[in-house]
Symmetry: D4
Subunit: 172 residues, 8 copies
């Protein structure tokens, strides 16, 4: 499998969905991490409020199309991940997108505080990269190859942190 | 028109919708105020997350059924009013229902922070009575009789406040 | 009716009121949306604190002048929409204007947390465009032509969201 | 002057105003402190939203009636002290009354965040006793006798704190 | 597989971990939901701060023991889910447990705001039942039988919501 | 009395105190307003934490020196106004100075939440001009000439607001 | 040294100071932990606002009296630990005491947000026991015997957590 | 001892630890203050989440290596200081590092709200200099020479504050 997940978008494993094109600045980090670890994905704009029915149809069809995890980013009254989660049984990961005001606390609460029955797996404000890594943890449960790439990714983070430590010590 | 709006529910002017039966403690104040001012209404449980498609269908059909204002109460990640607003052009009023934690600040932000294009008319946390009064202000624009009853309601509030003032003065 | 609502300000349907000229940066979006959908309106500066009596007089007279909805924007201890609502029975929509500190959370709470009896229909922080769309939803209840223009506006939003989605798919 | 300020309410120095009778539980502490230090006062219910014009008239007339300080308590979208301050040049002290939700943070921000030109002297959430003591500090500037009583009050607080300290030491 | 997951705890699919026995009141809802849907699990107390090394060892060994998802609940400075996530590549779900103060906002932020590289799938404050349902969504990706039971669970929620709606309509 | 209060600082009526020179950007607005209304004042740096004893000595002596109101600005753990209030019976006005983080909410709470017995008259975050106007309201109680200048100041604000309104109407 | 630190209060190592007797419910946990680990201490009521000069004198003298750590608890505008820290060079630990409103967030910010130069070592809201343990960590740096007792205390916590874990496993 | 603590890093008294190199902008102020007061120290990057085992090993070994105080800075879900505190009995000081969103309130709560048994001495958001001064207060308890330098540091702050006051008076 090549590192460029988007070419293989005909059979995406992960759907990255966002409320509007303006969320792309935050959400592309998810695509980049999936690319880096070789996970096919698609990027979609599915406004919960401007295209509610399309959005629900997309969510309902996702599982049958072979998508195994949805990553949804939205800001403010961020209803997208919760509404997607209401029409599918595959896991939905929410990325609170910070808007011009309130630093994303509205986006976070609108996502994470889902009522009993319909969970959204929420990650940190603006941290779409972590949403991708969470999707990869989920996919790696049944994909030993991906699990190996994820372990290497962790080892790389470990080494980078060690090297940063070492170069700080050198500087001392 | 009698003061009992619910009997006439075959032709409701206002739809009061809530996410679950547990919201009834907060939301019945809306029904009571509508009854008091003689506005027909219906009470419905339409969970955005447990019945997403029914909820959207309800919202889409509301206007054609003669409903002119929707009042929607929900708590936590409170998506109900925003999703209803996304499928209708009639006004949607949101009542943030406070849950066991966070005192309703999550419910408030999940409702009020709607993105450009789809407004929710949000009232105070837990204040379903005011949602009803806002609906009545809207309906009274084209119903002089209702406008008169609303004016009387204001006059009654005015007199009650005066009397509370007077009895405090007497006590002094 | 022309698209330029302001020329027809002699018979405004909507009054857009703000506390000071510095709120204009936020509030003009309301005027723009009303213009776009052909709703007459007037723009006024009515400080609740610097011109309390003028402000109340304006609010009291609005209904008789033919104004059917008030949109009021203010920041900080934002008393303008609530005080206007106290002297009229027409609907009042509040726009929390964010100031230099607190990101508008003070403006929001000062507006939305109105006591029983006097509601303010509050929209998102800084989102005056949505206040206009809420006013239009209200006016459209008795104006089929406006209702049609609002439906077209929704369809345009729908198409724009679809196109943004499509161009993202193309890019992938 | 007797210790019972309320008997002398015909010539009150301080007006204690509140939005509704339900604020009395918080606001009576102001009356008690004023009584204790022999300052005449009156207690009034002046809802900013249910009696806006009466409220403004009260505020406008207060100075000429000999009232020198207004203490205003309100909860939620607490507009009362700010609106009173807008129609008088005497000092207005605000007491944020905590309601069932949000612990008074809405009341606090609605009061303290007044725009340039019209200050409200805000005290702690629910602390009407301190509002009275602030009024007394103001009145004592031109009333040496009251200044002496206030100094004694401070000395009493000092002694009570010392005694609490001593009895804790004894217990040790 | 029987409905009683705990008997089969020798081969748990899910590890439910909490910081102290006092978290059990919140966390047992996770066990109940897993039992209801027939997912084996184990319940463990693994304080991040009182048994840091045991906690890390548990997290490191979990995957090899066949555990596929960890659910971790903690309150205040809630480090447990994040630290577990740092030593495993299986998904970790965090449940913010509300303590006596701050209503769980500290627990929520301590969990959800994980830095790039190590995600925690955070659910609503105190909503351990949803953590279980999220774990089930993940496990169901490779367990069609479980996927079927989850779908039935959703259908049951749907029917319950419909019935609540119907009984409200009857009452009207 | 000339408009330049600072020349006459030998007999200041108001003491403007701040924790450090970096607060001057916020606090000079107080001096400017006092100058504009012809109230003598002095500006002092009195860090509660770096010069605690000097600060208390200053506060204790202020009344006897003829100072009638203290205005104290500080940021973060803002103890200055509360500590000054603890050693004097003249009114102390607190200005919450916003620092690099938290937008002044820490400064506000550190000031306004004073315990029973020792009030601080708190104004809006960063609004030192209003602190000056509050001081002037207090001083004007026993200075009819100042009361007249304050009334003129209000009239000027009124006229400026009217003119802003008029020029907006012209633009329409 | 006996386990009862209070008998030996003539030579206290730790001063536990609080603003008022009402803080004792929170602060006695500090005394209990110090007793348990055999650290002498004294309990004092030293209101920053009712006895400012006594409080500063106490703080200044503490070091010379042999006190090595101060623990200060206060609520609301909690100035006590910061003011003590301003007059001594020994470490000062702050315990934010939660009051009736705001859940201690005001107390926390009033303490922790100290300006550069004068730190307060702040612990969790209402967690006076941890303040004692922090004092013990400090004292144990130069007291091997105390270091041993603290290590035993940690081992006991470890064993208690293990046992809670074991009894949960048994229950399973 | 020279003023350059870093050269003597072979025998550091204080370990300054941070989660990533990006925290250095905040944390170097700690090193600067320690240098200024002649306290040896080392700077390390020890990510709680990318190098959990190294981090714990570092914390466990610190005391035996002669380190007497740890200063740990981290942002967001800031687990570093709490986890270090869980494996050592020497005092751990936490510096909440503000990230791009939430202004450090997440970092603060993640640190300060530690459960009973394991305290973190938390200082102000972003105030690493105060963390160093707190470490110095602790070390000075058993180092009279350092206590003298700290007293001089306080005197210098006192003089600087006096001079700022004087130059403000001159300007007046």
């Amino acid at each position: 499998m090549s590192g460029d997940g988007r070419r293989e978008a005909v059979e995406p494993m992960v759907g990255i969905v966002m409320g509007s094109a303006s969320d792309m600045g935050v959400m592309e980090a998810a695509a980049n991490v999936l690319d880096e670890l070789g996970v096919t994905h698609e990027l979609r704009i599915m406004s919960a409020h401007r295209r509610p029915q399309d959005m629900l149809s997309y969510g309902k069809a996702a599982g049958a199309r072979g998508i195994r995890v949805l990553i949804a980013g939205a800001g403010g009254a961020a209803h997208l991940p919760g509404m997607l989660a209401s029409v599918t049984t595959i896991p939905v990961i929410g990325v609170p997108v910070p808007l011009a005001h309130l630093d994303g606390i509205d986006s976070l609460l609108s996502m994470v505080q889902m009522p009993r029955g319909v969970p959204v797996a929420t990650v940190a404000i603006g941290n779409a990269g972590n949403a991708a890594l969470l999707a990869i943890r989920i996919l790696a449960l049944s994909d030993p190859d991906l699990e190996r790439r994820l372990t290497e990714y962790h080892e790389k983070m470990y080494m980078e942190s060690r090297e940063a430590d070492a170069s700080l010590l050198d500087r001392g």
